[in-house]
Amino acid sequence: MRHTGWMSVASVLTVSVALFVLAVFGVLSINLEHAATALDRQVELQAYFKPTMKSSAEQAFLARLKREPGVRRVVFVSKTEALSQLKKEFPHDTTLWQLISQGNPLLDGFQVYTNRAGEIPPLARMLRKNPDVGQVVYQATVVSRLTVVTRILRDGGYVVEGLLAFATLFIIANTIRLGVFARRREIAVMKLVGATDWFIRWPFLLEGIYLGLMGAVLASVAVIVGYHWVFQTAAHVVAFFPLAGVTVVERSTVETTGAGGMAVGLLGSLWALRRFLKV
């Protein structure tokens, strides 16, 4: 190490930058997944009965609907409730609610919550075919867009990570190569007196792994400290911002950077030794 001090520092820093980016992508994707799940559970479908429906028939219909597979919750919203909600939402638009309170033009309706977002569209199709149901409204787009964003982030992450991994491998390999060069005399003597290839190689492999793990430690610390800060700040700004839990993020960060650092250190030094330690 002493021959190659600065080079080692440079490679640890490069590794840590690469692993930092990897970990940030990881944190982002954990959070997107977290948000998607949170939203998933909030997906609802809204439907309105035809004005001709009798109240008892409506209740019977809803009781049947509750037993459909995938349906988590059904909430009945009468047209009176709908009106007061509307007033609450637009309290200053007096003309609007004077106009509609003369004869409530709203309809009885209901909200259906499913377990998963994917269960909404078939349910909507089924309800649309039902003669008692007037209109079906649902917001599938939020969920599907979120899925698309996650996928783009993930694919983009792979590309960025690929490039960074290459740079990291390169600099680790070069560091190890410098180490081999600095110790060429020792290595020549070792070979001459009959040291085995692996006896000569393993200190360099360990050095590579060590460089990788040092980078991983730096990156982990940075990401975890950063996430704690983001988490606390977010909690102050919005009461229940859908952020993934700190422990989940910590664990995943340590695991990803640790494995990444080790892999990149091992591969980098193997790459360096491939040509340099022929007997």
Partner: protein
Amino acid sequence: MHRIWGDAVIIRFETVTKRYPNGHVALEDVSLTIPRGEFVFVVGPSGAGKSSLIRLLYHEEVPTSGEVYVDQFRLGRLRRRQVPRLRRLLGVVFQDVRLLPDRNVYQNVAFAMQVVEASPRDIKKRVPQVLDLVGLHDRSHHFPHQLSGGEQQRVGLARALVNNPHYLLADEPTGNLDPETAEGIVKLLAEINRRGATVVMATHARDIVNRMNRRVLAMEGGRLVRDEARGRYGLDTPERPAWLSTVSHEA
């Protein structure tokens, strides 16, 4: 004469030719045998193939054609894994010694044992013995740059001997030394030979060769031109060093 076949034959060259990638032919059709326990000088002008012969023996080079045998090893088709096993039978010393400058005498010698994974106990026991043998016991803590050329070569010898090799290969070990110091080194080699190691020494030192009266293999232009059981450096041109008589092909 020595036996050609059988157990006693431990080093054997069979019609060995060594041609380097640049086309230079270092050895041409060399056949020889060196039985166990012999002391052999390899003499000849620069570029005659002495060093190549030594390098083939420790598998630094492989023959282009023919075959080299050392004990049970066929060096032309030696697997990579086998190279360390061959080298543990050999001790090699060079004209430029190749000590590690940042280690002292003791550490340089101990290093050779460490890298073949000898136990620390054996190292502690063996290194002082070998330093004693080469007469450097009181120099253990000196670094190579604090030693004379002769002392450095003794360290080189100690390093080559510390793992108890069956063969000692020496490529111009006295090349940089004054005659008296050189004499001391060769006496040491003779002592090592007396203790059972086979010694192969490539050299220019005609006085030493003539005085020692041992087997001499004379090389010229890559060919083995003379092989005498009790030889002299050069019978043909006793007044002139043989290395002045031919144009050298390599540095």
